[in-house]
Every structure is written in C-alpha cells, then in structure tokens.
Symmetry: C2
Subunit: 533 residues, 2 copies
C-alpha cells in the first residue's frame, strides 16, 4: 500500500535529480558554491559554519515522499485564468499566451472546456495544432458529452472534474457514490480508449468527506487514471491540512497527484509547496494567479517558492527571464496592473531601503535576499533617498557618481540627505543633486543651495533640521547616527573581496575604514551599557 | 518543560474563548447556524451530514498548542511599512494611520526606531500622546543607546532585534554568544526597570543555528523578557519549517512568541497561520503587506485566513468593515494601487464568472465562497457577460431587471449573449441592453439590433455565430449547452427555501423548473454513456 518513489512518478522524464535531494530551503535554500552564475547567493562560509547549507536542522532532508525537486506545472491561464472577471482572450491572444508559456517551459497547458462555447472549441483545436512542446489539456465536466467533444479537439489529455462534497452529492447524485464512480469510470475508459491522458479530480476536496474522497480516488486509480486531482476550490485549506490529505492520498493511489489551490485566504503558494512535500506531482498555476475570485497559485510566485527550494531544478527547466514578459502580456490582455508587490517582478521585489538592509545588500545580497534577481533577468535597487538611508548606501552612490569624498564628508552629506528627507519626499535624482552640490560646495567659495527648487519655507525647515542635527542634540545624531549605522552593519564588512567583486553595486573600499573608529564606537556602546546597568 | 496552556498566554486578556475550540477550518470553517448574521455561511446540513462542521477528519481540533483562536496583532505599517520603497509618512499621515489601526482593533502599533532620525523620534512621541487603546511599541537595535532614546518617547514597549545568524555573529560579535546574551540581558533589564514591555527577537531566524537560537531565547526568557520574536527576514521559510521551529521554541520559553514573516516566496500568511497553530501568540502585519522588498504578512490577508479559522473571535475583536478604508488610506499615502487580487478588498475578490460557479453562488454563496463579503462590508458580484455565462445567472439578472421571460426564452437570450461575448468583450450593461432588447423584440414587430453600437462587421460575425449556434451544430450548443448547465448545477436547486431568502441575489422560483426536463437531460446523459461503453 505504500508506493515506492518510482511508482509515484509514472510519466515523469528522469531529469537526473535523485529523490531525496529536495527540501533544501531552510538554510539559504541554495546548494553551496561551484556554480559560477550564483554570485553572492551561497550562504557565507565561516569557520564555525563551513557548510551553511546544512546548518538548520529544520530543513527537511531526504524525505522520500517529497517531489519538491521534480514537480510539474499545469498552466491554467487559458482555463482558470479565463474565469477571471476581466479575462476575454480572443484566439490570437490565446495563441500568443500558449506559445509564451510553452517557451517558458511549462509541462502542460490547460484550456477551457470546448463545450463551453463554439469559440472555445475552435480555439482549443487551433492551439492543439500549434505543435507545442507542452502537452495540451482541456478541462471538462465528468460527462460523456463533454468528453466526446474534448477528445475530438486534438488535445493530449482531458482533465475531468466532479463535485464530491456531501451537499453536492446528496442533492444531485443520490446518497451513494456508485453513480459518481460509474460516471467517472465510463469517462476515464472512453478517454483512455482514444489514447489520451486522463485526470480525475474532485471539486472542493477539502470540504468533502475523506472516506468518500479516498474511495473514489482509489476506484479511478484501479481503472488506470493518469492523475487524480485535489482541488481547494474555495481557498479554505491550510498548509498542514494539505500536507496531511496529500500524504494520505499518496498511500492510496499509485498514479500522479495534481493539486489546485485558490488563494482566498493567502495560502495558494504555501499549499502547493506542502502538497509537493507530501508527494503531489503536479501544481496548477496561472500567470499572476488570475482565476475565479482572487485566483490561484501564481506561476511567478511558485517559481519564487521553488527556486528557494531547488534552484538547480528550477533554472534548468524554466526560462525564468521570460517571466516578466509573459506577465506583462497577460496583464495587458486582461487589463490589470501587475501588483506593486508581485513576486519577483513587482516594482519593489528587490528594492531595499532601511540603512542596515541597504548596507548589507551592498556587501552581500544574500544577507537580505533569498532570490537572486539576475536569475529572472531582474536587478536590485537600493534606495538612497530616505531618512532611513545609511551612509554606506550614499558612499556607494558617491562612487557610482565618480566623486571624491572622504568617509567623514560622506557622513556629513548623508546627514544632510536625511535632514532633507525629513522635510519632504526626495527622489533618487534629488539625492544625486544633493551629493553633487555638496561636493561642489566643498571646493567653492559660494555655497549653493543643496536642491535648486526648494521653497523658502522648505529651506528654513531644512536649516532648522540641520541645526538640530549638528547642534544641541549632538548626542542623538550625525556622528552618533553614522557611528551606530557603522557599528551594526560593519558585521558585514569583512566579506571576502571575491564576493564583493560580484556585486552589482560595489563599494570595495569599505574595508579600508579605520578599524580604530569601529573599536571606538563599539566600546562607547559598552560604556553606555555599563552606565545603565 | 512542556508549558500548560495558561502559562503560554501570560499577558492575554481572557476573551471567553476556551482553548481547544480553534482550528475549525477544514469543513467550511464556520461554526454551525445560530448566529443570524451568518446567512448562507454555514455548511449545508444534510441527512448524511447533519454537522458539516465536523465532517473533515483533517480539521485540527483541540490542539492545545494552537493560538489560532486567540492571536494578537502587532501592526507594523508605521515601522516595517515605512521601509517600503515608496513610503514617506509625514507626522499627520502617521497619526491618521495610527488612529485608524487603533480603531480597527489591532493590539499593538509598532513605530520606526526613534534613533533613526529626529523626525522619527518626534513622531513617536506624538503618537504615544494620542492615548490610543492599542499599545505603542518601537523597534530598536539591541543597544543601550537605542534603548535609552526609546524609553524616553513614552512608548508602552520596546521591540529589540539582533542578528543571530552565524555569519553575522562571526564577523560582528566574535565566536561565542556570550556577548549577544549580555547585550540583550542588559537592554532587557534596563527597559523592564522603566516599567515597559520588552521583546527580544533574532533576525533571519530561519538561517540561524537552532542551538544558538534556543540558547539565546532561553536566556532572555529566564531574565523575564515579555516576548521573544521569530523573524523570517528574507522570506525563505516554509510552513512546516515554521511549525516545527515554533513548536520547539514553545517548549523552551514560557513567554509570548511573536512572529514576523516576509513574503518573498509567497508564504507570509500561511507561515503566520502555522506559527499560531504551533503556539505563537503574536503576528506582525502591515496594511497591504507593505515593507522591505515585497513586504510582510498583510493585515487584510491575515484577516481572510483567520476568519476562516475562527470567525467568532475575528469579528468580535476587529472592525472588519473598516479594512477597506484603512487600505485605501495607506495605498494613497504610499502612492500605490491596491492590487486587483488583494485579499477581500481587491476588485475581483468576490467576483464569480463561470456558469457553474455563478449558478451555485446564486443558490448558496458558501458553495464557492469561504468568506462572507458582508463581514467586511463588501458585496459579491456575479459576472453575467461572458461566454462562460450560464442561463441561471441571466435568469437571475432578468428577475432583477423585473422583466418577464420564460425559461425557454431566457435560454435563447443566454445563447445570444454568449454568441455576442464570442464576438467582443461585453460589459454588464451590454448584457443588460441585450436582455432588454431581446425582451422588447419579443413584443414588437420591428426587430431592433441587440446592441445599438455594433459595427456592421461585428453584426455579421454575431449573426454567423448565432447561425452556428442555432443551426448546423445543434448537437453541440444552445439547448444542449443549456441542458448541461442545468444538469450540473441543478444539484443545488433543492436548497431549502429559508436559505434562499437570505441570499443577496435571490432566484426563488428556480425550483419550479420542470422536473421532467431534468430527468430527461439526466437520462440522455446515461444513454450517451452507454453508447460509449
């Protein structure tokens, strides 16, 4: 009854990933070194931790059930996605999306039921004729009439679904499961007789009776269904529930297990991950997650999750740098904006702001990034122009602008930028302007205003802030702020040179900072500590 | 070593929720009936399932560790949120947001480190003076200098944080943990001596060494820290990892456990939920999740997750109908659009489109909704105008428009709408226009075009579609489509009258549909089934 790993993955191409190598998230989720394209993304090797990868006992290693390192994607933008409120895909758009998904490397593309409308049927036929690498599926109800239409379209497989929850059954099919089983078996055998793949899924699985579920899954498995599907149709499932159900199911059927998660309660990505940990083989996705209500597991979000779990598998299989293009294409087609916080491609996904964060990122991105933006053809952005800015970020910017300033001067300039940021929001070019003017003023007799377009009131406010910073409250600012920033973040200053060279925003000479100054600031902290005790 | 439930919640106000009643997600997540405001949101009681609540053996019941039914929120929009790339909160905005969060009912409001800038300190003081019900916290580094500034601002508590991962330690604090422990204990005792709450958190906890983590948490627990914090600073943690770590920690410390999850890999909400299941007491949130990179657990998303787990607790504690207002306020302040797929308040959160879905929702919303939009002052929207539209949705719309059409006529009209939706995207008012014109044409001699603004080409295309639908391909459309729609969804037609009256979009006479027609369609399916077998 407990299937062996090989049984669990019938229909899988071997991709050289031995079972048991998955589940590396927990340390930094990346295997260590060797791969030259992974600049800065290994954990930092240290004497006490020569293999940062293995440092966390909570990283699930060697779980034979897990398919985290060999999952497959059933991309449903052209089925679930078509149920999104704003979706209206014409044939041309559907073909464009299908080609892009195929190029990206998804394993399956699922299309709307050809019985839904005549156009749906024609589009299905058209996409089947494209000759894509991805297998084409269509999603139908568990009826012979739908199945008959589906098998004529040229698809590689049919995904049938039927409601199994008690209220659907009782009001629709009578009190026993025999009817559902017979209908399912009939459809399965018909589709198989046409030489096509067949999946049988329950609907609303997490509100269905467990015994009924296992009973029907077991029955369809016995007649040779290719995959069974578990669907959280209303988005109510939580990760540990998903793990438990899929793990149980894994012991009951020997076919593949597909999973489909809605995101109403924010668990669609996490649930997909837990399902794979428990032995599911396939995950349904859509681009930007579009679907009924607020949608399902997003393709990009799943990539973000899985690259942290097994980067080698993900980058070997999917053209990640195409992600943004596909998302933009679909967003345009359904007339939405890509959310600001979208996984990987959202405008702030790799933006760093707080002083400590920005400093650390400059030294080693893996300190505050678990995903390398370059894997997706994206780049990071360190935010300079805020009152949370640290002088190290400004120092890096000064070097980018090719200006010569001492650390002391940079600290003063940073204080001015922070004072200005307290007066009004400043953009990155404002920060540049302040830095340049500050530099100019050092070598000029006539002091220019730091920003050309300051109103007299703003100038007055700024001067007051500066006086505050420089003058009476000296204890709490400028040198001290700068020192504290240095204190906390100089932790990261000794990062090996080799690492630094790899960084996009290099501030190579950070190490030349006076060790004395560091010592000084540290001991002053200890002193003030003693005063308090 | 295994703390009893009462020990685990020191500092909790009793709210009348006995331990062990939590974790009801899994069935439909709602306790059954009784509460009149929960129209349509109980599971459907049936003979075989009189208590739908208890039907799923995977619903975690009576787990004594779980705090799912008595969690607290530490709202960090004014701290983590201020680290969001676009955030620039002036004093006025901060005060507005703090007041709104307080009104909503969050337990704590966390503010930016007053040592970060002079303005941050002044803003902190100003918010402390507002006399809010929520406790005010500030977030500082684990240093006496920061702590001294913090305790002078009038806050109720101080949240200190220090990096504990091996690379931070080795390059910063030396190889032993003694230094960190001493620094932490010094700060903790100082803050406690001022009569304030104190939290100690590690940074990047899921990439820290477990033994070091437990060791430092145990040490600070012994000197009486109020809460320890677990932070997934880079967003790498997965739900089962979180559960395991928090569960272990729960056995090590007797204080409260706060959790902070970034959303880089899409698990911030799921991780927070699993942490609560494992015994964590507090969850950090921000409005719309804003924070470093793509942010942290969003307040609204957490509400969506938790209302499914324990609706009574959530609606008794938080003013959910204020959620949208707060989100709009913050979105405006940081100049972002609320994402289309935002939990609960996104434009598509309660929009239903596919024929089967829309029909079922009209009969009983809990069939395809796990959250009642009315709980949040929102309403649902059933999408009529698409080629996936079912005739039941159109029927409901016809009734809303107060037009008289027979079921047969409605089916024909639906076919016309679907044909039109194949020609071009149609808005809901287009659908209304088609319905009205169709109704008018029935009683008029001159047939008007269904849409006034159709181009000649569109009209030609539409007529071709219609001919297709009506004529040669009769097997595959119109009656058949309509019948199939009826077949699949009449499952839900026998919903008790009492339930129906509660629905927003009532289509009360659905039951009067001819039982013969239903029988007919069912048996025809059986017949075609036999042909195939």
């Amino acid at each position: 009854m407990c299937p062996q790993p090989d049984e669990l993955t019938n229909g899988h191409e071997t991709n050289g990933h031995a079972n048991g190598t998955n589940g590396s998230n927990g340390s930094n989720g990346h295997s260590n070194g060797a791969n030259g394209s992974r600049n800065g993304y290994t954990g930092i090797e240290t004497n006490t931790n020569p293999r940062p990868h293995a440092s966390n006992p909570y990283a699930p290693v060697g779980d034979f059930l897990s398919n985290v390192s060999r999952f497959k994607i059933i991309e449903s933008t052209l089925r679930e996605g078509e149920q999104f409120a704003n979706a209206f895909f014409n044939t041309e758009t559907k073909i464009k999306i299908a080609k892009a998904l195929d190029d990206f490397g998804v394993d399956y593309i699922e299309l709307t039921n050809p019985a839904a409308s005549e156009q749906s049927r024609l589009d299905c036929e058209a996409i089947c004729k494209l000759g894509l690498k991805a297998k084409i599926l269509t999603h139908t109800r568990c009826t012979m009439s739908d199945a008959r239409i589906a098998v004529e379209t040229g698809v590689d497989g049919v995904d049938v679904v039927i409601g199994t929850s008690s209220y659907l059954r009782e009001h629709s099919h009578g009190k026993d499961m025999t009817y559902i089983k017979n209908a399912a078996i009939e459809v399965i055998e018909f589709v198989k007789s046409k030489g096509l793949e067949i999946r049988f899924s329950s609907e609303d699985s997490f509100r269905s009776d467990l015994v009924d579920l296992l009973s029907i899954y077991s029955a369809v498995d016995k007649v040779g269904v290719g995959r069974v599907g578990v669907a959280d149709t209303v988005g109510c499932a939580s990760p540990r529930q998903v793990y438990d159900l899929v793990r149980t199911l894994r012991g009951v059927v020997s076919c593949d297990i597909e999973t489909h998660f809605h995101n109403d309660t924010g668990c669609a990505i996490a649930n997909a991950f837990c399902a794979l940990e428990a032995g599911a083989t396939h995950v349904d996705t859509s681009v930007i997650g579009i679907g009924e209500r607020n949608g399902i597991t997003p393709l990009g979000g799943l990539m973000a999750r899985m690259i942290v779990a097994d980067r080698d598998y993900v980058i070997s299989k999917y053209k990640l740098h195409k992600l943004k293009e596909i998302e933009d294409m679909v967003a345009e087609a359904v007339e939405i904006n890509v959310p600001f916080n979208n996984y990987i491609t959202g405008f702030c996904a790799f933006t760093h702001k707080a002083g400590i964060h920005a400093k650390a990122i400059l030294n080693n991105p893996s300190t505050y990034e678990i995903i390398n933006p370059a894997d997706f053809g994206m780049s990071r952005y360190v935010h300079f122009a805020s009152r949370l800015t640290g002088w190290n970020a400004i120092k890096s910017r000064v070097e980018q602008l090719d200006l010569e300033l001492t650390d002391e001067q940079i600290k003063i300039c940073t204080a001015k930028i922070k004072a200005m940021a307290d007066v009004r929001p400043i953009a990155i070019d404002d920060a540049d302007s302040i830095i340049r003017t500050f530099h100019l003023n050092l070598h000029s007799q006539h002091e220019k205003p730091l920003l050309p377009n300051l109103s007299p009131e703003e100038q007055k406010k700024f001067e007051a802030k500066e006086r505050e910073l420089r003058g009476e409250k000296e204890e709490r600012d400028l040198e001290k702020t700068a020192d504290m920033q240095a204190k906390v973040s100089d932790a990261l200053e000794e990062v090996p040179k080799s690492k630094k060279r790899e960084l996009e925003l290099d501030n190579g000479d950070a190490e030349q900072e006076s060790p004395k100054a560091k010592k000084g600031s540290r001991s002053s902290r200890r002193t003030s500590g003693k005063e308090a005790a």
